[in-house]
Amino acid sequence: MKYVDEYRDPRLTERLLEAIRRVVTRPWTIMEVCGGQTHTLVRSGLERLLPDGLRLVHGPGCPVCVTPLEQIDRALAIAAQPEVIFCSFGDMLRVPGSSTDLLRVRAAGGDVRTVYSPLDAVRVAREHPDRQVVFFAVGFETTTPATALAVSQARRLGLSNFSMLVAHVLVPPAMEAILTAPANQVQGFLAAGHVCTVMGYEDYVALAARHRVPIVVTGFEPVDLAEGILLAVRQLEAGRYAVDNQYVRAVRREGNRAAQQIVAEVYEICDRPWRGLGVLPRSGLRLSAAYAEFDAERRFACTAITAVESPECRSGEVLQGRLRPDQCAAFGRRCTPEHPLGAPMVSSEGACAAYWKYAPSRPQ
């Protein structure tokens, strides 16, 4: 398949790995930001082919995982209301809230539907004018243009029965938080290619300079990741800290201006709590005043949410790259996909899910 097979070529990957081995002279710690990249690394076994001392740590780039528990509990409360059709991406359905998850809400009679695009939720709202249709808008910059388009279409159509529960988050503030944490070990980043497809990478230039870390905008296939690692290691060995773009087939420096425009029209930047990272200033998006009527949090009174995190779940440390999933005492024992303690075990981009799915050995 074009644009896939050539980026999975084992010979090319091996050549890049060989180049990495030649360049590396010291131990380095690089974080791949996106959960999709984590999955490719673990699935392909690429991380186990890297030279000793070159360590990849897994970043917070799983939007489902970083969505705070109180927002998930809010989603569950809204989804359980009889007049609501609750539309969500499939990733969210198994994510545990304080006491239940969307699949269980559905089994108990809630109308919970999996959609593949936010525009599907708008269509559901048109088809069911007598019901309240709520879309759970989760995701990084990659997903925001599609949800912005959905709400702007709903307004154009005059749909008073459509709203969105927004949990959008932005990547650069999370990278900043990781770099400024006292125990930070991350010396370079593989930035999430698809986020940069939308936003470009101008923001990263200042970030790289401010913290003196190399950042490589990187794709999602084994060849992409091997090349991204090589570019990062070259910079580290040379003492440079610039932004390189490995993912040139999808990313331009300025990003996708049309997508940025619709996002800027519909959303405004806000402070947002992240699971495991706490409240990060200017790290999220909320509907702007012009679209406030489509905010599900306003439409449904569900403010009295007290979220109860599992005391055993260490997903906060996992999301900051401080703990490898298989180093968590609960991993594979008290935390499995059937009985997850936290979102990273069940989200398709979660680091714990990657280790569970592809790890060559699991705790018995």
Partner: protein, 344 residues
């Protein structure tokens, strides 16, 4: 001249009265079902069919079909319900002899849809030379079922010459599939309409008895045979690994996968190993029988894309591994539920 008035046509949708045992029920049974399936065993419309004596060990299998939408590229719930049960008999080593068909209909189902599915059951059963000898219809109120549920039960005669099962699987045996993987699951997913995937992909729903018989006739030493339906190849391999207490290694680069299925799986974050097939065999054969098995499969229209996809490894710990594109082994996870498409 006075012409007899024509009988009232059947209503254009299924009513609760069609299931209440009175005149509408009898008309539905006679005018639609018997008209389609007519044979000497069904014709008396008795409470049970009386069959001819069966020589040999009798094999019985039942399955219920609840697919949404009822029709999809390459088939519908009708042919699926026939092929599914016939295939369960075939992979057990049995020659299918007859079927029962039970229909649970949601009130309001268009009569034309019902007639089309019944026609599809008829054509599929005839295509396999297997009569529908008994059946049942029930109508449930709107909302109590999703349009139409079909149950089929099949009887077959065991071929005494074959001995299939996990007990015969040995370390070193090879794992084969008879063709491309995941066609049915992706065809149904794309027919649901909300994906807007456009492709010429069709479900692979097909009866596999002929293919199984060809293997038996050619004397291919098959140790284990299954049709990897719901749960895909992964589900069958995990069952086999557990039952035979063996390690299984699948070669990712050897999997036959049609381009549209690959594309859809890439897009949705699904793995074709977990996606359903409805017209494929998964075989385990000793290394010496691989060439004969492949030749036999590829000589049949349903086995053209047959391939060796893996090996049975050491005995002891049940485990299914995949050798990925970079040559590294990873666990093939057994998902806890249906795979869910991802966000981005």
């Amino acid at each position: 001249m006075i012409a007899c008035p024509p009988p009232y046509p059947l209503p254009d949708s299924i009513l609760l009265a069609h299931g209440e045992g009175a005149r509408l029920t009898r008309r539905l049974v006679r005018e639609v079902l018997l008209a389609a399936f007519d044979n000497e065993f069904l014709r008396p419309l008795a409470d049970a069919a009386v069959l001819r004596p069966i020589d040999g060990r009798v094999v019985m299998s039942t399955d219920s079909y609840v697919v949404n939408p009822l029709s999809f590229p390459g088939g519908d719930i009708g042919c699926l319900a026939v092929h599914g049960t016939i295939n369960d008999l075939a992979v057990t080593g049995a020659e299918p002899l007859c079927l029962s068909v039970a229909l649970i209909i949601e009130e309001g189902l268009p009569m034309a849809t019902f007639a089309r599915v019944v026609g599809s059951i008829r054509d599929a059963a005839r295509g396999c030379g297997v009569p529908v000898v008994t059946g049942d219809t029930k109508v449930v109120p709107r909302g109590a079922a999703d349009q139409l549920f079909v149950n089929t039960t099949g009887l077959g005669r065991l071929n005494p010459a074959v001995d299939l099962g996990a007990h015969r699987v040995r370390s070193g045996d090879r794992i084969l599939v008879s063709g491309t993987l995941g066609d049915h699951g992706i065809a149904v997913l794309s027919a649901r309409g909300n994906l807007e995937l456009e492709s010429d992909l069709r479900s692979d729903t097909a009866p596999l008895y002929e293919l199984v018989r060809a293997l038996a006739d050619a004397g291919v030493a098959v140790h284990f045979l299954r049709d990897p339906t719901r749960g895909g190849v992964s589900a069958v391999l995990h069952e086999l690994a557990d039952a035979a207490a063996v390690q299984i290694v699948v070669e990712e680069t050897a999997l036959p996968i049609a381009a549209p299925v690959r594309g859809a799986c890439e897009l949705l974050g699904l793995d074709p190993l977990y996606v359903a097939n409805e017209g494929k065999l998964l075989l385990v054969v000793p290394p010496a029988a691989v060439a004969a098995a492949l030749a036999c499969l590829r000589a049949h229209p349903l086995g053209r894309a047959a391939a060796v996809i893996g090996t049975v490894g050491a005995t002891g710990t049940p485990e299914v591994l995949v050798r990925g594109m970079l040559g590294r082994l990873r666990v093939l996870d057994e998902p806890s539920g249906a795979p869910l498409p991802r966000i981005c």
